[in-house]
């Protein structure tokens, strides 16, 4: 493993670096939790790593709240999310995804930018952000643009980023004004409980008003398709329904709609059969859990 390392201290410096590297092979690095392992396994010749973790930019490295959104810099670490009580309160799905990521040591350095831009079909934080219908803010030598995160992924390890661009921040829309209750969680299935790469994951964020009506919902599925997918039809199926009216049959119908978005592979972690079966069962369980709550209310 051999590479040149550049450590820009500001975005101004970064863009100068990128101009210089225009005709060279370079890759970004921040927490380096994935890239060092990848380069050790498949060394690349004449590679430059541009280290983003020393860039001094509070927006890039911080979490901020505006009236209608929460903004996360791409340099925010998983641990930053875990320590943020606002996120725990507003977006449990995101907090849980960060909390269950890998191990304490890795969470200290792994960034959400890295999790997203690796574009792994099993990225945990990414899956949560897709369920929250987040937007990616991209900056580059030619300016700034925004793209919905669900459109950011073009295939396994392929993103919409062009050369000279990088992910700057992520905007999560605020919860609806009338929301009084959230069903929001991240379900991750693997063989063990920590240090695990998801075999199936589901992120969901359901907002409910004071009359038990589902105002809006977001579901995303991971590790069951070439990219993380937002299951729009399944969301449409439950949006505007009253949770007290949900039935076991709805749970099955809902799970079938989620399953339409899956197209899993068989690999050493699990077979296609297992991933499909578990995705269906877990999707069903989300509605079943809501039904259980409705009984508890009664």
């Amino acid at each position: 493993m051999n590479f040149e390392l550049i450590n820009p201290q500001s975005f101004k410096e970064l863009f100068l670096v990128l101009k210089k590297l225009k005709h060279r092979k370079y890759r970004y690095a921040a927490g380096c939790t994935d890239i060092l392992i990848e380069l050790k396994r498949n060394p690349e010749d004449d590679l430059t790593l541009v280290n983003l973790s020393q860039i001094n930019d509070f927006k890039f490295r911080g979490i901020s709240q505006t009236k209608n959104s929460v903004r996360l810099g791409a340099g925010v670490t998983a641990n930053d999310i875990v320590r943020n009580l606002n996120i725990k309160l507003l977006y449990p799905v995101l907090w849980e995804a960060a909390y269950n990521l890998a191990s304490t040591q890795i969470r200290q350095v792994a960034t959400i930018g890295g999790n997203i831009c690796t574009a792994s079909p099993s990225g945990d934080i990414t899956c949560a952000l897709v369920s929250l219908d987040a937007t990616c803010v991209i900056i580059g030598v030619h300016g700034k643009r925004e793209i919905r995160i669900r459109d950011f992924f073009e295939g396994p390890r392929q993103t919409a980023l062009k050369k000279g661009e990088l992910l700057y921040e992520i905007i999560i829309p605020g919860n609806k004004k009338n929301t009084v209750k959230l069903f929001s969680s991240f379900i991750k299935i693997g063989t063990r409980r920590s240090m695990e790469c998801s075999v199936v994951s589901i992120a969901y964020h359901i907002q409910i008003d004071g009359f038990n009506k589902i105002l809006t919902s977001g579901f995303a599925i991971g590790a069951v398709a070439p990219t993380i997918r937002f299951t729009a039809k399944a969301c449409d199926f439950i949006n505007r329904k009253n949770i007290n009216a949900l039935t076991e049959r709805d749970a099955e119908s809902f799970a079938l709609k989620v399953s339409e978005y899956s197209d899993p592979i068989s690999d050493i972690r699990a077979t296609r059969w297992y991933r499909e079966k578990v995705l269906f069962n877990l999707s069903k369980s989300i509605i079943e859990d809501i039904i259980k709550c409705q009984i508890e209310v009664k």
Binding site: R192, R193, S194, M195, E196, I268, Y274, K277, S285, E288
Partner: protein
């Protein structure tokens, strides 16, 4: 023996705990010798191929001191059956095969040199299934194999029987036949394999810093491989970062490192990377066990008929002898009137298996304890009840000739049944289902006489300052034997623990011992040390009588003094030593002893009392299964183990926890996956050992049976806690779900398939026979 102990039985922390947790311990990886070169090994790309090799470019690389292939060395084959060439010439038979090695000034140069070696392979169709290898059409895999077997690919066979099988079959009410399938598990030691070799060209002596568990056997094996005199080889064991049986054999990288040092005249070090460790260190034997077992109408076991096929891999390690232990479980765990056992180790082009904590016993126990649950279901008895009816008893001499002078089997079972009585299987239609499973185990507890001697030598000395040095043949691989030996000396000599030193790592100094295996060290080395201390005390007593002018006194050793049992007057132990040493007739306060356990060799039919004593354990394990995903969560593990006598509750608890967790990994997630001879998961990312968050509550109850042969009554404890765990967990899952699992590990996918009624891959037709009585 004094039963009212002061040190023995107390929770003394491991004496090397401080250097371990502060990073001061010197592992093999920390050794740096002047002028040391770095060695690296080129392994084959294909599991079965012929090849030609050209190392000329590698030799030209600046910084390379030496490149060797099979053509450059003159060695004997290694391994238990001497069927394993150190460097392979012209053909390879498994993905671990070493075809060249380099010594260079830096590790980077060595690795670059490997990449410059040109190898032309001619791939062959390998044989990766032992049943395929047994077909007449299969090619002969190991051309060095010896022995007169009915098939060219058989590496070893074991046959054992007792009782009248046909008679027992006739009186059986239920007979079941099942096929069990056990995976490859790897040791996953925290320290990767390592060796540093320093050969002196001036005197022809070879110094090895090696993590072996069996230094004296290793010395002999190394000498055989290199065609040297064993005593010209000195083995020093650095701190060892995990053994678990993996270091019972000598592997090719070790003589290769020695050869590189011999050729260059410089010290050479070889350290495995983690990937290399997964690929090139041994595994637990994968096995197919066909078991037929019967039960009579009252719930008494009638017979076991067992046929084991073991995937030996391409070469034969000590692991091929695991049927010694496997047959013991089948013949003697619970009362069994008749047993027929046959095991065959079969060569394949897979990686070769080695020895691993439990030594075949976890596999055997899985099959027989799963079978007991199925028999209980068929006959309609409780799974606790059926075990109690058949439990082993004190005084029993089993069909194989094992003599249970003490036996805590029943107490172990009663203890774990009582601990978990309240939480029996839930029957509701919930997503999460709870279940409980039982399993017991029998293992040697006083060594195992499989080598010419199962003994251990000890030297004990006291210096003129009252400090004691124990020089023991026993090895420390993290299990805590140094601490236990120091405690024994402190107990017997009344010397404070901080004044006791244990020397145990140098073959030039220490007396002989067969090595650390078979849960034998505390038992054998403990007895050996007690023997030496007894001799030393005779000397000290004689001198003290003379000094105190009390010719008929006996002495109590306490707080650094010898107290007369007659007058209660005292004399400091260091004073006695000084008087012995510095006044006529000028004698050293030193004594030595060689202890040989009273066990017997087994005869040709594998019958005989092979161990000084036997250990028993039972576990009951509660699990919760997610029927939506197949995930198993182990909630509570109740362990009751016949340990003879608790020597150190802290270290004992450590062994129990470590063993249970290794068993949990074996049950639920650990499997070295192979496809056509290639390893698919050579990293901790995909080879899954349990993490801290998978750890259940472990409740341990020691059962003390005070075996008169053990030191203070103790038995071996090291392997036992791992052995029944996978069986008990699987029994619990089957209990929770009402399914039949016959294959490990019970991954979420296997469990979910079973819930959905899908057969797992390797099970064949399973039979139930009900006799109409």
């Amino acid at each position: 023996m004094n039963t009212d102990t002061k040190i023995i039985g107390t929770p003394v922390p491991k004496h090397d705990a401080g250097i371990r947790v502060t990073g001061k311990a010197v592992y093999g990886h920390d050794i740096v010798l002047p002028g040391m070169l770095h060695g690296a090994i080129l392994r084959t790309k294909y599991p079965s191929a012929t090849f030609t090799i050209d190392v000329s470019e590698a030799k030209k690389l600046p910084g390379v001191a030496c490149v060797i292939t099979a053509d450059d060395i003159d060695t004997n084959n290694i391994s238990f059956k001497r069927d394993h060439p150190v460097i392979k010439a012209g053909e390879v038979n498994c993905i671990r095969d070493e075809i060249a090695a380099v010594a260079a000034e830096t590790k980077e140069i060595a690795l670059t040199a490997l990449s410059l070696i040109k190898v032309k392979y001619k791939k062959r169709k390998g044989v990766f299934d032992p049943f395929e290898a047994l077909k007449p059409s299969a090619p002969k895999i190991n051309k060095f194999s010896i022995g007169n077997f009915k098939n060219k690919n058989i590496a070893g066979e074991f046959h054992y029987e007792h009782g009248n099988l046909e008679k027992q079959k006739k009186r059986s009410k239920i007979i079941l036949t099942r096929r069990f399938s056990l995976p490859r598990m790897t040791h996953a030691c925290m320290a990767t394999s390592n060796i540093t070799a320093a050969y002196s060209q001036s005197d022809g002596k070879l110094l090895l810093y090696s993590s072996t568990q069996v230094p004296f056997l290793y010395q002999r094996d190394m000498a055989h491989a290199l065609k040297m005199n064993p005593s010209d080889i000195r083995i020093i064991q650095p701190v060892i970062g995990g053994g678990f049986g993996s270091k019972l054999d000598m592997y090719p990288f070790e003589p290769i490192c020695a050869l590189l040092s011999i050729k260059t005249g410089k010290p050479v070090q070889i350290l495995y990377s983690r990937e290399e460790e997964f690929i090139a260190s041994p595994t637990r034997q994968p096995m197919i066990i066909d078991l037929t077992a019967g039960i009579d109408s009252k719930g008494n076991f009638t017979f076991r008929e067992v046929n084991v096929i073991k995937d030996n891999g391409a070469y034969t390690s000590w692991g091929a002898t695991t049927p010694f232990v496997i047959m013991q479980a089948f013949s003697s765990l619970y009362k069994i009137p008749a047993c027929y056992f046959h095991a065959t180790a079969v060569y394949t082009n897979n990686v070769f298996a080695g020895s691993f904590r439990g030594y075949g016993n976890p596999q055997a126990t899985f099959a027989l304890e799963r079978m007991i649950d199925m028999l209980a279901d068929e006959i309609g008895m409780g799974k606790d009840e059926i075990r109690l009816i058949n439990a082993n008893e004190q005084g029993e001499i089993t069909g194989q000739g094992l003599h249970y002078q003490t036996c805590g089997h029943r107490q172990c079972l009663e203890s774990v049944i009582k601990s978990s009585k309240t939480k029996i299987r839930t029957t509701s239609n919930e997503r999460y289902k709870k279940g409980i499973g039982f399993a017991s185990m029998l293992h040697v507890g006083g060594g195992a006489k499989i080598y010419r001697s199962d003994g251990c030598g000890s030297i004990v000395k006291i210096d003129p300052y009252g400090f004691c040095t124990i020089i023991t043949g026993a090895n420390e691989i993290g299990q805590g034997s140094e601490t236990v030996l120091a405690m024994i000396a402190a107990e017997e000599l009344g010397i404070a623990l901080n004044k006791i030193k244990v020397i145990n790592s140098d073959t030039d100094i220490k007396p002989w011992d067969v090595g650390v295996h078979a849960s034998r060290t505390s038992f054998v080395a403990g007895n050996s040390l007690l023997g030496a201390i007894k001799k030393l005390k005779n000397k000290l007593n004689a001198k003290a009588r003379q000094l105190m002018n009390e010719p008929s006194a006996d002495f109590i050793y306490e707080s650094g003094y010898l107290f007369s049992n007659q007058t209660r007057s005292k004399i400091a132990i260091d004073k006695v030593v000084r008087e012995m040493q510095f006044t006529e007739p000028n004698e050293l306060a030193i004594a030595f002893y060689f202890y040989e356990p009273l066990s017997e060799f087994q005869d040709k039919e594998f019958k005989g009392n092979v161990s000084g004593t036997y250990a028993f354990a039972s576990q009951s394990i509660e699990v919760e299964v997610d029927t939506y995903t197949g995930n198993v969560r182990v909630l509570n593990v109740h362990v009751a183990q016949d340990v003879g006598k608790v020597l150190n509750p802290l270290l004992l608890e450590g062994q129990i926890h470590g063993g249970v967790l290794q068993g949990l990994g074996y049950a639920i997630c650990e499997e070295l996956l192979m496809n056509s001879g290639m390893i698919l998961n050579s990293n901790f990312h995909n080879y899954k050992i349990p993490t801290a968050s998978d750890i259940p509550e472990i409740h341990f109850t020691p059962i003390e049976t005070n075996d008169r042969h053990g030191p203070y009554g103790a038995k071996g404890v090291g392997e036992a806690p791992l052995i029944p765990t996978a069986a008990a967990i699987t029994n619990a899952v089957c209990n929770a779900l009402g399914i039949e699992l016959l294959e490990l590990p019970i991954t979420p996918e296997r469990v979910l398939r079973a819930i959905n009624g899908k057969q797992t891959s390797r099970t064949k037709k399973n039979l139930t026979v009900r006799n109409g009585k």
